[in-house]
Symmetry: C2
Subunit: 203 residues, 2 copies
């Protein structure tokens, strides 16, 4: 199997970090998304949405979307479990994974795409919405800071895929000048701790 | 346990439809989101993001986000499995669930919120972005139509949670006048078939 990857992009980084936590090694093929390599007919046959990462199995079957690739590997090798063990931990982790995805990761991504016009050859950037998406991300970081006052990780005592999604979103947010604020001491404590994990060195 | 629900909103409908497929009965409490009942201090203690649906367990633990509530019930009662059985089916279903979530359900929701100003008391609608989100949803429906020419359901032969997400998004899209086009015969075949399932009568 192999993974089509782009070293500089935040979404494929989630998969690299997840696999590093699992101790699973996979071959990576670098795709130049700025040059549009992801939009070639060959790549769109693997993912019609033209996005990376893509996991390609040995029989040619492809799975895309970072969260789906991670769930495939979780089912293949449970430990260390990053989506939980029992119904309650699975539900709570899925809740925080989804919140981190929709209200942080996606907001940072839309802020980047709509504010900078980085992909203006393939989408219609609306700067006013880019600003709004950035504000949404900052609101969620405020909520996270409050939550982390009483929780070690997003889903409680256990490190999970939700931490990976939130951490990679906040790390990438520097490109749109969104930073953890000095008063967000709980978020900073959590961020600094995740940053020291060997899996976070995959960037 | 009970679920805080809003009959007219598309996100809680996903949970009702999922539980109908599982044959699980739960008590529902109706929340008036137009009147802002979801934003009360009591409800924000259950979900700080102020959204429905919310599952509340008997010990007071709350899980929100439709996809997370569904994963909780999947872990509690596997059959009929709606997130897959083995690593490959789990990965493929997760891929289509995520695509339906991000590129269809969320786009329809943002089109509605930004075009109509329905929640303008609690967000900043940007009509130009609302239009863009609607176009994104239509692009994904075109892709789905092509995909369903060779696949019975989104994830292949097996009905899954991804079908529920896509179906409820398309059903709700009528409020922003997005419809399956006459030439999208595969999407129409799939939609008509899902609409006949007893679980689709939950609206």
């Amino acid at each position: 199997m192999k993974i089509y990857d782009t070293k500089t992009a935040p979404t494929p980084r989630r998969v690299r970090m997840f696999l590093a936590e699992k101790g699973i090694e996979v071959d990576y093929v670098q795709i130049d998304i700025v040059g549009g390599e992801n939009l070639s007919a060959e790549m769109k046959a693997k993912n019609p949405l033209g996005k990376v990462p893509i996991l390609e199995l040995d029989d040619g079957t492809c799975i895309s979307e970072a969260n789906a690739i991670c769930q495939y590997f979780e089912a293949l090798q449970l430990e260390p479990a990053l989506y939980g063990h029992d119904p309650l931990s699975k539900g709570i982790i899925a809740q925080w994974q989804q919140r981190a995805e929709l209200y942080l990761f996606m907001q940072v991504g839309m802020c980047f795409q709509h504010s900078t016009g980085y992909f203006k050859d393939r989408m219609n950037p609306i700067p006013e919405f880019g600003k709004e998406a950035g504000l949404n991300a900052q609101k969620f970081m405020h909520l996270l800071d409050q939550h982390l006052a009483e929780n070690h990780y997003l889903a409680g005592e256990q490190f999970s895929v939700a931490d990976i999604t939130a951490f990679t979103a906040i790390d990438f947010a520097r490109v749109v000048k969104i930073r953890i604020l000095p008063e967000q001491v709980n978020l900073k404590r959590w961020y600094d701790e995740i940053k020291q994990r060997p899996s976070a060195q995959t960037d």
